[in-house]
């Protein structure tokens, strides 16, 4: 026993009312009622994932804040990490109204890079389709993504109309959409087959799709890495694509993928030779050879214009 016991303080503390104990001991109606046995609980509306409400992030105060972030720290970060070369913005000169930007996806840096590359007047009226299960898993993460990137939740794990309806509604309201049709970041530097979301929305809302190729961000912050390493990145905007009369979404999605593939070729070589290969259906693939891991990596290195690792002086004295 100690001095406190000797002085009788322990007994005194026991007698004092404890707020925690009182809180735990509260009863209905101060606490939620128990569900009677045999009764199915009523569904609770979700506030995360695809159910996360992002409308507040498209009101003026949030937009102003986002514009300040994009033009300030985000642009500076992108410049330091990626020194981006932006090409093809002139291809958008004749366009106005909402657009769907469909880009390949290598890295978390892709979104900041694209948000600082998309030209006016679309740059500050664009929403980003973000994985509902990843970016909106918690309310804090969702709020941050919605505020900083203008993200809206897109279901990728299950089929649902909610994401598509929200995106279509926003496009009809004049918002442009940045979407990654691959559905996630590249696991190995090669692209993944395009899903039909961008094409479906373009057909449904009758807006053009701007294919965009992002190159080099995989070397900066590829999937699985936590610390970025500065390297050169390129963003190439392609000529806008419109769904042809009667064209269905899967076919249009294939055209979008082919356009991004041709842009990848253009970024790796030059425009004219890329056009020749595109006309000859020889642009290569975005998804890489159907081969083992080392052969895919080997082929990937052959496509890189700049080495993935920085050259080091030797001996390093």
């Amino acid at each position: 026993m100690g001095i406190a016991h000797d002085l009788g303080l322990v007994r005194m503390r026991r007698r004092l009312p404890s707020p925690a104990r009182a809180f735990r001991a509260r009863s209905f109606p101060l606490r939620a009622p128990n569900v009677p046995g045999g009764v199915a609980p009523a569904a609770v509306p979700g506030r995360t994932g695809a159910d996360f409400d992002t409308a507040w992030a498209r009101r003026w105060p949030a937009r102003m804040g986002r514009a300040a972030v994009v033009e300030g720290p985000m642009r500076a970060m992108v410049q330091v990490l990626a020194s981006p070369r932006r090409r093809g913005t002139d291809r958008l000169a004749d366009l106005d109204g909402a657009l769907i930007f469909a880009a390949n996806h290598h890295s978390h840096l892709d979104t900041p890079l694209l948000l600082t590359s998309i030209p006016e007047p679309w740059r500050h009226k664009v929403v980003v389709g973000a994985a509902a299960d990843y970016f909106f898993g918690t309310r804090l993460a969702g709020a941050t993504a919605a505020l900083v990137m203008g993200a809206v939740p897109i279901e990728r794990a299950r089929v649902g109309r909610r994401s598509a309806d929200l995106a279509a509604e926003l496009i009809d309201d004049g918002w442009s959409l940045l979407i990654y049709p691959e559905g996630g970041r590249s696991p190995d530097g090669w692209g993944q087959p395009f899903r039909g979301g961008a094409a479906y929305l373009a057909v449904r809302c009758d807006v053009p799709v701007v294919p965009v190729h992002v190159g080099g961000t995989g070397s900066i912050l590829r999937k699985g890495r936590t610390m970025p390493r500065p390297a050169a990145a390129t963003v190439t905007f392609g000529p806008p694509l419109r769904p042809e009369a009667g064209e269905r979404a899967p076919r249009f999605a294939a055209r979008i993928e082919a356009a991004v593939t041709a842009l990848a070729d253009e970024a790796a070589t030059d425009w004219y030779s890329a056009r020749k290969r595109a006309h000859a259906n020889a642009s290569g693939t975005l998804t890489g050879p159907d081969a083992g891991i080392w052969r895919r990596q080997w082929a990937l290195d052959g496509r890189r214009r700049t080495p993935a690792t920085r050259s080091r002086r030797w001996p390093n004295l």
Binding site: R87, G88, D90, R91, A93, D94, E266, D270, W271, Y272, S273, R275, K276, A278, H279, A280
Partner: protein, 537 residues
């Protein structure tokens, strides 16, 4: 209101000046003057408002390439293994340079895309600059876009025409007037020559594109001379232009002995300063200036006056015009050019009744030969007496023996890299004589063959040694026609060196003009730019 104007632009206007007429804007180099014209005997010719641009330029270009005039569609003229050359207008068009994407880029990308589909490997792109200065990489990049530049420039397939390359030119023959016809060798030996043109004024395009743009001094001297200029009424009116007659004769030789040509011509509206923005006030009629327009004009005017000339030049040189393409046509040279000329005139022509005793004009900061450069006194003369004076159809705006009053600072300044021969022309030739015929006879050959000037033309960014002569000849028709030329606000020594009279104010100039044309002369002010062309009855 602005949207209505866009859909139904107003035609040009001839305004009779009365006491209620506000002061009129005169361009004055990199500045402006507001001048009152005497009421009752003055009139002002305003240009038409900008015509609406094509709603879908890319589709219009594609349609033109697939449905050419008197020619097979372009894709059917392309095949693997062929030699394709694409020539295009140089930095002198349009004026000022236009915002991206430039028309040349739009067209050339579509031509190249068709060539890529056909599997054409051997493609060269040539800036058809004749004896102008070479375009810099940045200028080429601006005109053709990043994609074309990056695909062709690094491998040496995009370059400037070199009229002094001893191995780079070929003779195609002589016309029935014994005029020599030469052409860039690569273009001449191609299986197809595609020419991409921008028509800013009715002088441009047609056979002038290839017969002049890809030729050398020995071919150009047959039409770039005093006699041709003096016989042209005017060189802006193709059917009454001796310059064009000569080019068309050379075109016949090209047709017979040269490469097959696929001509692509375009026209732009006269949206030089924009319908809104900081310079929009410059293409509004003065009585329609809003409070905002007046405020922006006063701020601009005061700012420019406070800045040194070089800084003002920098400001204006950064201005890119928001021109819009109003037409595009492709195919055989003659039918294409007929259509182009009609489209140009639809924007520029303003009917004007009768001539005037005194023609006034405010000269702006730019002419075809000082893009990203300095407007030297010889170019002031060329712009005023060459281009503006000749912007007529029918008869000159000013009567024979009349007076032209130009407003320009006419500084004694030259760009040492771009215009080296101009300096010597100004200091040596004009010090002795200003008579174009005498200048031509005594000095032209010497300057044209000077090895140092040739070297600078080929390796630096200098206009050819003979170029200042052509600028002087450009005003030969006006010099022959006019009784006096007065420059308001110009450097006195520079103005006198050119044989003109300096005046401090417009009132002084009008007073001086009355010595030649008599008291109370009729006055016409050419409110240009944006560009207009007077159709004088």
């Amino acid at each position: 209101m602005a949207a209505e104007r866009r859909n139904a632009p107003r035609p040009g206007l001839v305004l009779d000046v009365d006491r209620s007429t506000p002061p009129i804007l005169f361009h004055h180099g990199e500045g402006f003057r507001l001048e009152r014209l005497p009421p009752g005997r003055s009139r002002i010719i305003y240009p038409a408002e900008p015509l609406a641009g094509l709603p879908d330029p890319e589709a219009a270009i594609r349609h033109a390439l697939l449905n050419p005039l008197d020619s097979d569609p372009l894709p059917s003229r392309l095949r693997p293994g062929m030699k394709l050359t694409i020539a295009f207008d140089d930095i002198s068009l349009p004026l000022p340079p236009m915002r991206r994407p430039d028309i040349r880029q739009r067209i050339i990308e579509q031509v190249l895309d068709m060539a890529a589909a056909a599997g054409v490997d051997d493609v060269h792109l040539i800036a058809a600059l004749a004896l102008h200065r070479r375009m810099t990489d940045d200028e080429l990049r601006h005109a053709l876009g990043e994609r074309v530049f990056d695909a062709f420039a690094p491998q040496g397939a995009l370059y400037n025409h070199d009229a002094e390359d001893p191995d780079g030119m070929v003779e195609l023959g002589r016309t029935n007037h014994d005029e020599l016809v030469t052409m860039n060798r690569r273009a001449a030996e191609s299986d197809l020559l595609v020419y991409v043109n921008i028509n800013l004024v009715s002088m441009d395009g047609g056979w002038k594109s290839t017969a002049t743009g890809l030729a050398d001094y020995w071919a150009l001297r047959h039409h770039h001379n005093v006699g041709t200029m003096q016989r042209s009424r005017s060189f802006m009116d193709r059917h009454r232009s001796e310059l064009h007659h000569s080019n068309w004769r050379q075109g016949e030789v090209i047709k017979a002995n040269g490469p097959p040509i696929f001509q692509i011509e375009t026209t732009v509206n006269n949206n030089t300063f924009g319908l809104d923005g900081p310079l929009a006030v410059l293409q509004k009629r003065e009585w329609e200036w809003s409070a905002r327009d007046r405020a922006s004009f006063m701020a601009m005017h005061a700012g420019l006056r406070a800045m040194p000339a070089s800084a003002c030049r920098g400001v204006f040189n950064r201005w890119l015009a928001p021109y819009e393409m109003t037409s595009v046509q492709a195919g055989a040279v003659e039918p294409v050019h007929e259509s182009t000329t009609a489209n140009v005139l639809a924007q520029h022509l303003v009917p004007v009744q009768g001539q005037t005793d005194v023609l006034t004009m405010g000269l702006p900061y730019i002419c075809p030969y000082n893009v990203n450069s300095v407007m030297n006194p010889i170019l002031v003369m060329c712009l005023g007496l060459g281009y503006f004076f000749n912007l007529y159809r029918g008869r000159p705006l000013v009567r024979e023996g009349g007076v032209v009053i130009m407003s320009h600072p006419t500084r004694r300044e030259f760009h040492p890299v771009h215009h080296p021969s101009y300096i010597d022309f100004f200091e040596q030739v004009l010090a002795e004589t200003t008579d174009p015929a005498e200048v031509e006879a005594k000095y032209e050959a010497q300057f044209a063959t000077d090895e140092w000037y040739v070297h600078l033309y080929r390796t630096s960014y200098a206009y050819h040694g003979v170029h200042p002569f052509y600028m002087w000849y450009w005003g030969a028709h006006a010099l022959q026609w006019l009784g006096r030329v007065i420059i308001v606000g110009g450097d006195e020594r520079a103005v006198r060196r050119m044989g003109f009279q300096p005046a401090s104010t417009l009132s002084d100039a009008l007073e001086m003009a009355s010595d030649v044309v008599g008291p109370a002369p009729t006055i016409t002010h050419l409110h240009n730019p944006p560009i207009l062309m007077a159709d004088v009855e």
